[in-house]
Each structure stands twice: as structure tokens, then as C-alpha cells.
Symmetry: C2
Subunit: 236 residues, 2 copies
DNA sequence: GAAGATTTAGACCAGATGGTTTAGAAAAGT
DNA sequence: ACTTTTCTAAACCATCTGGTCTAAATCTTC
């Protein structure tokens, strides 16, 4: 079988699936239909991790519906090892949340068990070639979920509702320093003003944000896009 | 031209591009090669927004490289109107950051001006049919950028380095309440313990996290994945 | 069952924080 | 020029917060 990989060595693969039948099926398929080298298989995530450390494969096919330790956690752990292993998630469900989480933690591909075997081989080819492979149908699901997440989480407040927009420039500066956990004294020094002035600003901030203390003010700022003006930040 | 849309009315389209030549070209292409109805065109984002409010098109083709008001901001504003308009971003560059931001704010498709005209029509077809369309090449770029963002922003600390992992269960509960901006008194009531006990816990938390006050503790918790254990959150 | 960790709770104190009022100077807007 | 907003600053006071020490009850763990 030639699939345009003549230019490099056979990629080594480890397959992980708690269902032994299925595991054997995939193993055979890959051995017969592709140029890849199945160096090991595992029926549990923890065994898989040991094997990966030992064999350092290029590719891991990981079933993410397993008892004991679930596949997503396993993927996260493997990614954390930073061995350059490229993981393809394998599952029966096209649940958008699963797809999203898998891609988020670093899976380089995601395919359904129900898909044709040729597609599995194709996915491995693509991922081995350094690409990310997500079938069109799953890609759609991913994007819908992705956009929905953002719509829900970002700026649920209009400009008028976002009380941060009523702060003056100086108040923003003060709040900025508060969000860094700096005391009144520290703020005063940084802004070259007296401590009592800082207090005045802070009190005005509290009133404008309708909160009672600095922690709440910081939380309000963080939750309503205060930092976003400076930096694009993505938190899990 | 029949493209499998016989079952529904001709979708109305507005095209936005500051380059008039290009605008006309696309308009003609769509009128000749597709079943869609170009109800208006605009050469600036602000005009486009008025037209969109007036015509309520199903689809908007938006060039995102424009002077004056940039296309991304325009997309965000249109999405905010929540008119059900499906926007396809159009640009000359396959800059992953642009792609990521466009998809993040709700673009339903993203195509390059350099792509074949048939692909443009195909993209419109797909998006009009309710799907999200991203050519494979751009999809790859998107995912690489997406995963890179997550890798950078999430958990830069190992388990041993993350001081949150040294907190006891009770301390976590207390910190959890602190991250909601609750006072000692409030925490005491919620946990049915005395205020002095809360203080003890808080002091232990400070020492373990190596911080001096509650704000810093909250910031540490927020920046090091404390909330992540409960909820998947995405902030811009 | 002994050793260690966790949770509970008190006392004492210094200093930080927050609420309120007042007020002058500077800047911005009309 | 006049008004409004913003930035500056002080005084006063109550409360909250944080640091330190001590210590008992309860859970774990070996």
C-alpha cells in the first residue's frame, strides 16, 4: 500500500480501545490497508500511557469511551508529557461537547467508529503528515458548539449594562491595579497620588459597579471584559 | 442554475467590499452562477449595517480588510443585532488569527479571495443551508491556532507547581467562596462554622498560596485553574 | 493505638479597608 | 464665561482583614 508516505519512515502507532474485538479489528485494518506500524495496543488508558512512554509512537488512536480512566483525561495527560505524540480520538458518538473538549486539549483528529475504514486510514495519513483532521460533519458540529460557547460566555451585557463603561479613565487605572492585587498604598505609589485619593477613586468605583469591596470589584472587572481590552485570553 | 435549493426561496445576499471592482465582480458571479438574490451592496461597513437592518438578508458577504471600520468589528456588531443574518468573511489573507477571531465572533464561513469562484458559490450554498463552511486549508490553520491558544493559556504550571493542589478540601471550599467575593462572616454562615475558623483557614490558604491578601488569593485561584474544575468557561 | 493531618475555635493586635462628608484645582464641555 | 466632570486630598470612624499563637476534637494513616 502506497499512500504518499514514501518520503518518510513508517509512522509508529499505538491503538487504545477497551473493546478487544474492536481493537483487533482496527489493528488488522491498519496493518493490511496502510503503511503504518502498529507497535502496541492497550485496552486501558493507564497501560496506554506506559506504552507511549516506552515506544514513543508518532500516532495514538484513542477510544475516548472507556471505563476506569476516561479517554479525554488520558489525552490531556499524554499531551502534558509533550512527547510530540499526535493523538486521534475515536468514539461512537458525535457529541459536540466531546469533540470540542477533545480538540481543546490537543487531539489532532477525531473520527467516529461508524465511519468507513478508508476514512480512518485517511485520517491517520493526514495527521501523520502534520495536519489536523476533522471530518466535515464533525467540523460543523464543532463550530456550532464553539460559537455557541462564545456567545454565551462573552459579553452578556450590552454597553449600557456593562457598568465598567461608566468608569473614568483614572478609575480604570485604579481598578486595573486592584485587579493585580495591589494595596491602596501600592496604587498610590504607582500613580503618584496620595493614598486618600486612591480611596476616593476606589469608593467611586464601588458605587459605579454597585459592589461593596475590592474583591467583588475585581471579579466584576474580570467577568465583564476588563482585561479583554488589553489581551486576548482564553481560559478553559 | 440549480444547486439543490429548489426547496426554498432564493436567499437574499448583501455584499460588502471597499474595492468596487471586486464587489461588482462578486455580484455578477453570484447573479450568473447561482440562484441567490443580491439585494444590495456596500463599500463600507457602516453603510452595510444600515442596509442589513433594512433588507434583512439571509447572507452577508463581508470583506474584512477595509479602512474606516474594520470588518471584524462590523461582524461583531451585526451579530449583536441578532437578526439571524449568516455572515461569510471574505479576505485575501489566511492569517490564522483573523480566521480564529472571525469564527469566534460568529462568522459562518471564511473564504479567501484567491479561491476559485466555484468555491465561493459552494460556500454560500452551504452557509445558506445552515452549515458552517471553512475550507480544509483554513480549517487546519484554525485548529492549529485554536490549540496553540489553549496550550499557552491553560495550566502553565505542573501539578507540583500549582499551589492550589496543596489545599485541603475545606480550604478549597473557603477559597471557592472567596472567589465569589464573600466576606469572612458570609463564609462562616455558608459553611456553618465560626468566623475565627474561617480566618484560620484563610490564613492557611494565604501561606500555601504564598500571597498576602484575599484579592491575590482569588487572582491566583482564577489564573491557575481553580474554576476549571467545575465549569468550562471561555472568555475572550 | 500512636503519629500526623485536618478541622474547629478562641484571644490579641496592628493595620488595611470601606463609608461619608467636604472641598479645592484642573479639565472638558457648552 | 459658565457649568459640569474629573481628579485631587483630608478628616473621622467603624469594621474588616491579616498575623501570630495556642489548643481541642476529629480523621487518617501506618
Amino acid at each position: 500500500m502506497r499512500r504518499g508516505l514514501e518520503f518518510k519512515k513508517k509512522a509508529r502507532i499505538i491503538i487504545v480501545d477497551d473493546n478487544y474485538e474492536h481493537l483487533s479489528g482496527i489493528k488488522e485494518l491498519i496493518e493490511i490497508e496502510s503503511d503504518f506500524d502498529v507497535v502496541a495496543t492497550a485496552t486501558s488508558a493507564s497501560v496506554a500511557i506506559s506504552l507511549i512512554k516506552k515506544y514513543r509512537p508518532e500516532i495514538v488512536l484513542m477510544d475516548i469511551n472507556m471505563p476506569e480512566k476516561d479517554g479525554l483525561t488520558a489525552i490531556a495527560e499524554i499531551e502534558k508529557l509533550d512527547l510530540g505524540v499526535r493523538i486521534i480520538a475515536l468514539t461512537g458518538y458525535d457529541d459536540p461537547d466531546l469533540i470540542f473538549r477533545a480538540m481543546k486539549i490537543g487531539a489532532k483528529g477525531y473520527i467516529l467508529k461508524t465511519m468507513a475504514s478508508a476514512q480512518l486510514i485517511y485520517a491517520i495519513d493526514e495527521v501523520a503528515a502534520g495536519k489536523i483532521y476533522l471530518p466535515a460533519a464533525l467540523s460543523s458540529r464543532f463550530f456550532e458548539y464553539f460559537q455557541k460557547s462564545f456567545k454565551e460566555e462573552t459579553q452578556d451585557l450590552s454597553d449600557e449594562e456593562n457598568l465598567l463603561n461608566y468608569l473614568t479613565q483614572r478609575e480604570e487605572e485604579v481598578l486595573d491595579l486592584l485587579t493585580q492585587g495591589i494595596t491602596y498604598k501600592g496604587v498610590a505609589q504607582k500613580l503618584f497620588i496620595s493614598e486618600t485619593t486612591v480611596k476616593t477613586h476606589v469608593n467611586n468605583i464601588f458605587q459605579k459597579l454597585q459592589v461593596n469591596d475590592r474583591t467583588q470589584a475585581v471579579l466584576y472587572a474580570l467577568n465583564n471584559g476588563f482585561l479583554n481590552r488589553r489581551k486576548v485570553k482564553i481560559a478553559i
